[in-house]
Subunit: 194 residues, 2 copies
DNA sequence: CTTTTAAGTGAGTATTCAGTCACCGAGTTT
DNA sequence: AAACTCGGTGACTGAATACTCACTTAAAAG
């Protein structure tokens, strides 16, 4: 790889980093391509040499992030069997990139079909991990018998709700951190051991 | 009231009705003032004689709707004591204006401070009704002792989640209708009678 | 050293919209 | 019936903002 190609790759990574931080700060929809270019210290037009359009930017950022979380969850599943532990680790994982996931929770309904499908697909994989974990616990008589699907939706619905309203409820600090105990407590209340 | 004033009032009400149907169809953010004027059969400028700006339109529509639901809930509380019954009636109430509430659930984070505060205030009143109903049930030993706050948030979080993703999950028909049984079942699972 | 290649530039284009204003004409008052 | 009032009109304005393209410049090739 020559000097030119190296520089281009470097600029590309720099752009991704800057774009992510801008999106986290103001959301994807409220960040203009000019702002990203300015923040990255490049010309506006240059952005479009690296990425086909604005959508391609968020797609790449999210693809990386969601793949990472999926990998981590899969590994957890392989290692841990305790549901509470799994939930706790998942919440910790979300918390690490909480700002970004909050943007996602808020803006998802406004994205185009393709992007939405991509995100919801990853999301559904993670949901299915929890589904299986609960189901297994019930089969092994570790927990009492409840409607697994609605329990999982209840769980993810709440997390999504807290995230989407993050900017309204609390401006500073982590919502996940704040509501973690009550989310875990309620799941335990719901599934308490027999 | 003379002929002119009568006409104006009539146009105003007509505008509110048309605006609501447009908002329900396409969402508040994706409906232009021109579209509303066109649909109502008036000139674009006329809209701004009746309403200070676009925000004022949705504020008035929602104020009416949310006040109605609040009144209804208060009456229910006064009459019924059974929590399941209350939840069922609340869901039916939401279902009646499901399209509008789905728009709300999706777009809320993008509204301005004032509008958001207004909506969340009404929302919190309704939440507090449920909070008190559960708390009372626990005190009277009707239900087992759980964390009331997180149970209520769990409940409202899920409803909000289903509503906000309505357009993604199902295009036709009612999400509330579809998920009503599982929402009620999960609440019962959580609070089952002692 | 000269020519070719391609990354980078930023003023410009196209489009979308909320909101305005000078004018019109129907309805009201004198 | 003349003068006045005020609701209605819609072309226009200005502000965003995603994306383009003719041109510059620095690196690579010959």
């Amino acid at each position: 790889m020559n000097k030119r190609q190296l520089q281009k790759q470097k600029t590309r990574l720099h752009l991704l980093k800057i774009a992510k931080s801008e999106f986290v700060k103001k959301g994807f929809l409220n960040t203009t391509t000019s702002e990203i270019a300015d923040a990255a210290g490049i010309a506006h037009g240059t952005l479009f040499l690296h990425f086909k359009n604005k959508d391609a930017l968020i797609v790449e950022i999210l693809d990386k992030e969601l793949e990472e979380i999926n990998q981590a969850i899969q590994q957890m599943i392989a290692e841990a069997v305790d549901l509470e532990q799994l939930l706790l680790q998942y919440l910790n994982l979300l918390q690490k990139e909480e700002e970004l996931f909050a943007v996602l929770a808020r803006e998802l309904p406004f994205y185009n079909e393709e992007l939405r499908r991509k995100i919801l697909f990853r999301d559904s994989i993670i949901r299915s991990h929890f589904h299986r974990a609960i189901e297994l616990g019930i089969k092994e008589k570790k927990y009492r018998d409840v409607d697994v699907t609605s329990a999982v939706m209840f769980l993810f619905g709440t997390i999504n709700y807290y995230l989407s309203l993050k900017s309204i409820f609390i401006k500073e600090g982590s919502v996940i951190e704040k509501f973690k105990p009550s989310i875990i407590k309620t799941l335990k209340d719901l599934l308490f051991p027999v």
